[in-house]
């Protein structure tokens, strides 16, 4: 207790420190961040951009520190609003983060010369820096030997060797950070000729307005250096007239003096980096073939490369299906147990309906995605960590480019065939904003597993089972199979023109370069893989899960209100009493002795009476449910959209099914079950449902469903965006409501037009 005031004083004096972590891609930056933050990071988005904001709050030796993870980048010359974010954070212009007190610049030890390019730009910011040489063990094994101490002396900056994936060097790094004193920044590196700096000062005067603070030197440097960069376009919109003319004149004067931008920057910085490293780093001789190169010759080989790639993709895909299935069944079973527990405690009524049909269904609807996300992300993390992810993009680039995308879009799109949610989450590997948005927008068109129940139901009910080719009496090519195949591929086929349109029309003029590093192969670090899978899953449940849950509650309420449910509850009560009595009776019958035949007969009669009542009650219950749905807001909406869906060949019941399936496509099965008075717990291959669907009629007695209607419904579900989880993940990943609205609108339009054409054309043949 005696030293409490001193401790207090100490914490008061030392304000919270903000430390930014930045580095090239593939330097192990996220591993280092996870290790330093202990895996506890607040994940969110920076306002206005699609960049993820990761802040880890830690306390080191009583000092509170916020670690801010910035996206991996090769340079601080921003070309888009997303790349500008790192510059804004470092300059203290990003309002949601205080200006960093220090920067940790992480570099790949085996590839220092290129990594120091970014570092040299960071030195110009006049913020204290610690240089981390990560993967020192890997560098040593590749024959790169670094004298970190000599480097630190030359730079007059702390240089720490780490092996982040097994936690080596972190203690030294923490000590170096804690030693940084406030305001102890070194002067800018200032590599450029005087002519450049005088042009910069002239330009700054032009920029300055009385109201505004002077633009930081770094930003004016970027304006002058980055031809066609983001800073230039920013000032073009925000500065007064004449600035651009002045800028172009300044650049031509520099060119005339022999310092043409942008080439000057690269030449001077790389010159500095090479000179700095000259007697500090020992390299293996140039053009030496490494083990990684030998692996690459096989894995990017014209035949084996493709073969390996497709086998691997097949394995990943198959694993998602095989392993996620049982886990999803478990989640459903768990949900069933919870429902049963709730039903045993709470009598039939609004509260029970809310808990079972709203809350439990909503939570289940979120958790059901976890197995696929976890398994897919496990593979993605392993592929990225091992270095193969870059090769996958390398191999697929040529093919994907014909669709206007790049190789980096392949894995997210392939994943979307299992489920668009993890697929969209996987688009993080795409740095280019427009390419990433294009991939996000077309990903939900891929035929995911949630569409299968819809296809199965309507194919089983309406498509004749005709075999066109049989081998050894087992059908190989059937009409049903062909329709299923057509439905599964229609989305992907439509995605081609959509992607083309988005890239050529909406995001015109933005060519994403494929200039990227192919990192050396290495064994993935299990700890890193687990961290990443955990973070992805957590971020999905917390950020998207809440919204998905709320959508489910809303749809539940729309289907529940405003009807009077009292009769339904009475019937439900009676059903449950009858169920219990029946169970007791059965127990008694089983226990009854053979010789008391009379008593047994009496029990049997009681049972028959109750069974009769039970089936009558169930029928009544189903009828009531279907009437209640018809009179609910949902049912009214169904009637209201009936004229809109009439040209698709649908009646209002299908309309209700489509609206109710907004949280998830497969919900249409149970909604149709309720509406056709079969009860809600129904599966796609239920004979009763297939029968009711076949038998459904219009008021005039003609059949609702025929082959064109079935096809029209399937086409609609192949192309529509009836999946709240997908839309919420798009909202989460793009950090805006605009893109989910765009997705929903364009996909619903496509679905409507597709269904319209299939029905109208189909009717011509009937």
């Amino acid at each position: 207790m005696i030293n409490t005031p001193a401790v207090l004083q100490n914490t008061v004096q030392q304000k919270k420190m903000t430390i930014a972590i930045i580095g090239n891609p593939n330097t192990g930056k996220s591993t280092l961040f996870n290790q330093l933050s202990g895996g506890h990071a607040h994940i969110g988005n920076f306002p206005g951009v699609t960049v993820e904001k990761k802040v880890g709050s830690v306390t080191w030796e009583g000092r509170q520190i916020d670690l801010v993870d910035l996206p991996g980048t090769y340079s601080l010359a921003p070309r888009s609003i997303d790349e500008m974010l790192a510059v804004d954070v470092l300059l203290g212009r990003q309002k949601s983060v205080p200006r960093p007190d220090a920067i940790i610049c992480i570099a790949d030890a085996s590839n220092l010369e290129r990594n120091l390019y970014l570092f040299s730009q960071i030195l110009d910011l006049s913020i204290p820096v610690v240089l981390v040489l990560n993967m020192c063990d890997l560098a040593r094994s590749r024959g790169v030997i670094i004298d970190a101490q000599a480097l630190s002396q030359k730079l007059n900056i702390p240089v720490i060797c780490t092996e982040a994936h097994h936690g080596k060097g972190l203690k030294e790094l923490k000590a170096a950070i804690l030693k940084i004193e406030a305001g102890a920044a070194h002067p800018p590196l200032a590599l450029f000729p005087n002519a450049f700096y005088s042009e910069r000062n002239l330009l700054r005067e032009k920029l300055q307005t009385p109201q505004e603070q002077a633009a930081p030197d770094f930003l004016v440097d970027r304006l002058l250096l980055d031809v066609g960069g983001y800073v230039e376009s920013y000032f073009e919109h925000h500065a007064k007239n004449g600035l651009m003319d002045h800028l172009h004149e300044a650049r031509s004067r520099l060119k005339a003096a022999g310092f043409a931008v942008p080439a000057m920057e690269a030449r001077l910085r790389y010159g500095w980096s090479r000179e700095l490293l000259q007697d500090v780093v020992q390299h293996p001789p140039d053009h030496r073939v490494t083990a990684s190169d030998k692996i690459d010759r096989w894995l990017t080989h014209r035949i084996f490369g493709f073969l390996f790639f497709f086998l691997l993709m097949f394995f990943v895909f198959q694993s998602v299906f095989t392993w996620a299935g049982p886990a999803m069944d478990l989640i459903e079973a768990g949900q069933g147990l919870v429902d049963a527990a709730v039903e045993s405690v709470i009598p039939p009524g609004p509260l029970r309906s809310l808990l079972v049909d709203g809350v439990s269904a909503g939570v289940g609807g979120v958790l059901i995605f976890l197995p696929q996300i976890v398994i897919l992300y496990f593979f993605i993390a392993v592929l990225e960590d091992s270095g193969y992810m870059a090769r996958a993009a390398f191999i697929m680039d040529r093919l994907m480019r014909s669709l206007g995308l790049s190789g980096k879009s392949f894995i997210p799109l392939m994943s979307s065939f299992a489920c668009a949610v993890p697929g969209i989450m996987a688009t993080r590997v795409i740095e280019n904003r427009h390419e990433r948005l294009t991939t996000i927008l077309v990903a939900p068109l891929m035929s995911c597993s949630a569409r299968w129940p819809v296809y199965t139901l309507f194919i089983a009910a309406f498509i004749p089972n005709i075999a066109y080719l049989s081998i050894a009496n087992s059908p190989v090519v059937t009409l049903q199979g062909m329709v299923l195949f057509a439905m599964s591929s229609i989305g992907a086929l439509i995605a081609i023109p959509v992607a083309w349109f988005l890239k050529r029309v909406c995001f015109k003029g933005d060519v994403a370069p494929f200039v990227m590093e192919l990192p050396g192969y290495k064994w993935p670090s299990p700890r890193n893989v687990i961290f990443r899978v955990y973070n992805r899953a957590k971020s999905f449940v917390v950020k998207a899960g809440t919204l998905i849950f709320m959508t489910s509650i809303l749809i539940w309420a729309a289907g529940y209100f405003p009807g009077d449910h009292s009769e339904q509850f009475q019937v439900q009560n009676r059903i449950e009493t009858v169920d219990v009595s029946l169970e007791t009776l059965e127990g008694q019958i089983a226990a009854a002795e053979e010789d008391t035949a009379a008593a047994l007969k009496e029990l049997q009669t009681q049972k028959d009476v109750l069974t009769q009542e039970q089936s009558e009650l169930n029928e009544k219950q189903n009828l009531l449910s279907s009437q209640l749905v018809e009179n609910s807001f949902l049912g009214k909406a169904g009637h209201w959209i009936a004229p809109v869906v009439k040209p698709l060949g649908w009646d209002w019941k299908i309309g209700v099914g489509v609206i109710a399936s907004f949280p998830a496509r497969e919900v249409i099965i149970s909604t149709l079950g309720t509406i056709y008075s079969l009860g809600g717990d129904i599966s796609e291959d239920d004979e009763g449902l297939i029968g009711s669907v076949r038998a459904a009629t219009w008021p005039d007695g003609s059949k609702v469903f025929n082959i064109p209607v079935a096809i029209s419904i399937m086409v609609f579900f192949a192309l529509c965006a009836q999946c709240a989880a997908t839309l919420m993940v798009i909202r989460r990943e793009t950090n805006s409501w605009f893109w989910p609205v765009v997705s929903f609108t364009y996909m619903t339009t496509l679905a409507y037009v597709g269904a319209f054409i299939s029905y109208q054309v189909g009717m011509l043949f009937i």
Partner: protein
């Protein structure tokens, strides 16, 4: 000649990066500067993109990006 014309295994010296667009700036940021040596290590299965060794690391470039790089054979 340009970088897309060299054959597998060949080492070339960069003489110039053409253009001032996003791609040529990115190429320079990645260390492709006149005087630097660059080697073609291999190609993707469909012949594009290409894998190069430069400054001790491995770099992937598309054919049209490699076209921006003027080289001479060493």
């Amino acid at each position: 000649m340009t970088l897309n014309q060299i054959v597998k295994g060949q080492v070339a010296r960069i003489t110039q990066i053409n253009g001032e667009d996003a791609i040529s700036i990115r190429l320079m940021e990645m260390g492709l500067i006149d005087g630097e040596q660059i080697q073609l290590l291999g190609k993707a299965p469909l012949g594009d993109p290409l894998e190069f060794a430069v400054r001790g690391y491995r770099l992937s470039l598309r054919l049209n990006e490699a076209k921006c790089v003027e080289v001479e054979i060493v």
